[in-house]
Symmetry: C2
């Protein structure tokens, strides 16, 4: 509605303006935009991003996604004095969800925005150096708002996904398109919202641009891609539905797992049931990278359709059909795109729990003092997975490493209803009977409604948690909510929603929805929880200054004591904050950068939550905060 | 284009969302918006607005439009430490020009926004209390962007004009519409962008809501209205084209001036030439009020069409046809709407100089030490008019008070080309020959192009200046620019632009366009000028703390030393600032409030300037600034 109205108004405005323009002789702009040439970004810069405090050159603030900074200038004593330094408006009468993470390099901030836009800003002043806006066709199908979650930098290029299932490389000094590759049919539902990542294949020495696809709600087959970052040329593609064929150097490479796909049921004639052709598993968030074992690690999306019975045996048997390789964490060889390991978070996922939130790779100190290599993932299904990195990266010819693959699997939200816990030996959940929404009774279109906790928006959703190398804790932007859930009949139709499920998101508690949760990965102990009235939909950042930063749906950027969860500072940005904070140092001063702009899945899908957040204004701006010189010392 | 794209994307987004919504059972919002009941606004509050520092209950920060505050907590010593306190996003994927002035009362900020929107915000936190958005038809015709310049408060109501030629009263505690009156045919070009004002007729004791109309570029007849604020009922209407009929209590009242309209030429048959029927003069800015003489004072717009020859004798004689009562300042009796005085700024205006910028009423200390009652107006034509308030308000049966009506008329921009100065005795300009764009030669469609300084965007345009009761100076947001100007043939067609003129706005100097100018009204001396690279399009505010505040097209809110013009502070808001700053005190702290969001006439009409400002992002937000407690003392 809004869009239409503004179009027509603009037409009205033009009525007179056209007279002026038509009468005018066009002259060159009197003040050209300044071209600022910044340093090339090398692999070493990316590899060291975790340690270098003067820049943020990779999503996750490093290829392991720690979102941790050694900076201490802004700390638990003085953060209360932090102030806004500047703000930048994304403009163009485009707002909606701003879920991005900015990159910062050589005095320039690179930030993406809704509707597949990108901006380069002078980090000191906020002055726009260039902007880019993808020309999006009318028939794109983003399931969950027109968001973009960030870009990547390498050499002189800035990379980002576009909603029309494209990946684009821009000259980072000018914003001009260097290459653009379309990776899927956007009319079938393929799209791209996640940030790409950069890895260096330790075997070949080749640097690769890794990116996934989105679209599970439309029944796509999720795919991960490796490209030559300089040319955009595809090196390999890996589909995440068991038995589908991968691609290497433009040719068929290998099936994903067993070519017969035994985790997907057959029809009576022995051919696969429909769902297998459209099985989802899209890796729509950002891959992390284990340099030691030369392994790409990525979360895979929900199976399609959501309705479990379409992915079960004709007799209703779901236990033998895990819908591999959906809703789990996948480990891949960068040279070939072969899958070398997989750990599933939700076997035969009946709830759209998906498994995409990035797997954070870290060295975990165990209660006995030993240090082990681990992967951490907080899932929509309410469990926090601490997996064995050395097991899952092992090239032993066996993909599934469910049995014995995890150090621990712990609930991080209360009253999980679909499982009572996990058997670490088998690596399988102890599922609660009756929590799979039952199929419609004969002659009915809808099944009986049941209550499931957490709901499909998740214990946590896409918003990345942070890991403190100082406290050893993870900080999960979690939510406490539940839902009513029922099945519906569905048949695949290209470009249409392929869910087979209906739902209403509901409150779990009167007091709050959002729950920033600090958890000890070695024990699963929840150290503290900070509650928010509205849903939390922003990522977290943690610093050695004992601070956790995140944003809230009611417009605040906030800082918390990392050890205690005490709220120490907040600033009202005027629209909901659902993006990812970063921090860096420039000219001896520490800054925090974050986008503001409400949107994403909650207002579109969120039932009671959509109603609650209707009062939140849309926005679209980037903010930089810092300590005034005079207030940098404590108190 | 933008609007269309976003509409379609939204449709795409909805594809899935609709499934969710359709499947959902609607439930009431879990958290309702808070209703905050604030004190009633009385006439005394408005009358005293100039002096009360705890609120801003009228446009102009008082009915005399001084835009001056006695507050000194933020001052020339400590303003460098001022920081952003909070920001609010207007949202809705609507941006474009934000030219508004906020009102502040009893802890609530009332601010209008582009596309005829209004918001009530908690002044402490920025939390939205309510919002209102006019349902605008598709065929509105705002000449110069979808701006709104502010509202008015009285009793429990908040008033604002709408782009579809309406005036609406909202319950100020809930935002619900109490009444809405349409005052003109928006398809003919009538619209409303200015803030209404509140006056109390000293004769009858009746409080009136005064508002004008816009639309001169479409050939409307400009009208001023008085309404009962509580019901919206029209009390009187005064047209500003000589000889047109006014209205009082629903009946024809009196002609405006001479019924024969001798200042408009006749055809050979003795009837009026076409222009008289569509003569413009719209009072599209806000009226001020002289309590002592019980007189409403308002600027009137340009004559229509712009082309002088359509408003001159058939022999090309313009000297005898002043196009009354356009491009001047009008004085009206509040009981009846009768015009009691008029001073024209540009007789037979051939340049769209208009005369709308509000007339600031003040007590002027003359060089000899005597104090006189005066009106001050900075005009697009480059002259600063200091008029005699007691003369112009005199009920002597004579409307035109041109002869001897001014204390002084001074240039405030350099190289004015259309006149060399003014004869104060006659009250007429010494016009330069050849500066009226000549008519097309026989058989041609366009006349020869000539260069005119300043251009029609003006030495200053709509953006209100400020008057310091402390320094005695006026602070004019001025611009230094020129234009190429030529005539074109035109015939009135309802709803179409009625200009008869073409143009291209051009640079005057390589160094700058904007020029914040401090001028002494008693001598016309320019005390200082602060230059800005880009056009200045924001209003000014001055405080006893020796500070002048304004905004810049490149996104800054700035503070200057009121005595010297030294720039003391700036903050980057991310979009061009073209609105009107206000200041108030709350809980012992002084705050500055201003909207950010680029748009208005410059990017639509501005030729070279539109090119220059293309780099400015659109926006739409309100900002509050203040001194951190720790930094409130100097240094």
């Amino acid at each position: 509605m809004q869009g239409n109205n503004s179009l027509r108004l603009w037409a009205g405005v033009s009525a007179v303006a056209i007279v002026a323009v038509a009468a005018a002789i066009m002259a060159p702009a009197a003040i050209a935009e300044e071209v600022k040439t910044s340093k090339s970004v090398e692999w070493e810069d990316i590899l060291n991003d975790e340690k270098t405090t003067g820049d943020v050159v990779h999503w996750g603030m490093g290829i392991r996604n720690h979102r941790y900074s050694e900076l201490t200038q802004v700390n638990d004593s003085n953060v209360k004095n932090m102030k806004a330094v500047w703000s930048f408006s994304f403009g163009d009468e485009k707002q909606r969800g701003q879920e991005t993470q900015a990159l910062v390099h050589d005095g320039v901030i690179y930030v993406t925005a809704s509707y597949s836009r990108a901006f380069a800003l002078d980090a000191k002043t906020g002055k726009k150096l260039w902007s880019y806006q993808a020309r999006l066709p009318d028939d794109i199908r983003p399931c969950c708002d027109v968001v973009n979650r960030g870009g990547a930098l390498y050499k002189n290029l800035f990379f980002m996904g576009t909603l029309d299932a494209g990946m684009v490389a821009l000259d980072k000094n000018t914003g001009k398109v260097v290459w653009k590759e379309k990776f899927g049919d956007h009319t079938a539902g393929y799209t791209m919202t996640g940030a790409p990542s950069i890895v260096k294949d330790q075997k070949t020495g080749k640097v690769l641009l890794i990116h996934g696809s989105s679209g599970d709600e439309f029944g796509v087959v999720g795919q991960l891609f490796a490209r030559d970052p300089m040319t955009g040329e595809e090196i390999w593609m890996r589909p995440f539905v068991e038995g589908h064929m991968g691609r290497l150097n433009g040719e068929a490479s290998s099936h994903t797992g067993d070519p017969k796909a035994p985790s997907w049921p057959n029809k009576k004639d022995g051919s696969k049931r429909e769902a297998w052709n459209h099985g989802g598993g899209a890796p729509w968030q950002t891959a992390t990278f284990d340099v030691k074992t030369n392994t790409i690690v990525v979360g895979t999306g929900n199976p399609a359709p959501w309705n479990t019975w379409y992915r079960s045996g004709l007799d209703g048997n779901w236990k033998d059909y895990d819908s591999l390789y959906t809703s789990g964490q996948a480990y891949l060889e960068p040279s070939t795109g072969e899958m070398v390991g997989f750990f599933q978070h939700t076997p035969n996922d009946a709830w759209d729990f998906s498994g995409n939130n990035p797997i954070t790779l870290f060295d975990m100190k165990q209660p006995d003092g030993s240090v082990v290599r681990a992967g951490a993932h907080a899932d929509r299904n309410g469990y926090f997975f601490v997996t064995k990195l050395d097991e899952l990266t092992k090239r032993d010819g066996k993909i599934s490493k469910q049995a014995g693959g995890a150090f621990g699997i712990y609930p991080f939200v209360p009253d999980i209803s679909w499982a009572t816990g996990w058997d670490l030996k088998t690596g399988r959940p102890m599922e609660v009977a009756g929590q799979r929404p039952p199929p419609p009774a004969e002659g009915e279109k809808k099944g009986e409604s049941i209550k499931v906790t957490p709901n499909f928006l998740g214990g946590t959703n896409w918003m990345p948690m942070a890991y403190s190398q100082e406290t050893g804790l993870f900080y999960i932007p979690a939510n406490h909510w539940t839902e009513d859930y029922w099945t519906e009949n569905v048949t695949y139709k290209k470009g249409a929603a392929y869910l087979g499920q209906g739902f209403r998101i509901k409150r779990q508690f009167d007091t709050h929805v959002g729950a920033l949760t600090a958890i000890d990965p070695a024990t699963g102990k929840i150290v503290w929880t900070h509650k928010e009235a509205m849903p939390l939909w922003a990522g977290a950042l943690v610093t050695k200054g004992n601070l956790v930063f995140t944003g809230t749906s009611d417009g605040y950027v906030k800082a918390f004591n990392a050890k205690t969860g005490e709220e120490l500072w907040k600033f009202q940005t005027g629209s909901g904050v659902v993006s990812q904070p970063v921090t860096w140092e420039m000219d001896g001063k520490q800054y925090i950068g974050i986008s503001s702009g409400y949107g994403g899945a909650v207002p579109l899908w969120g039932g009671d939550m959509a109603d609650m957040t209707k009062q939140v204004s849309q926005g679209g701006s980037f903010w930089v905060f810092g300590l005034p010189k005079e207030l940098a010392s404590a108190n």
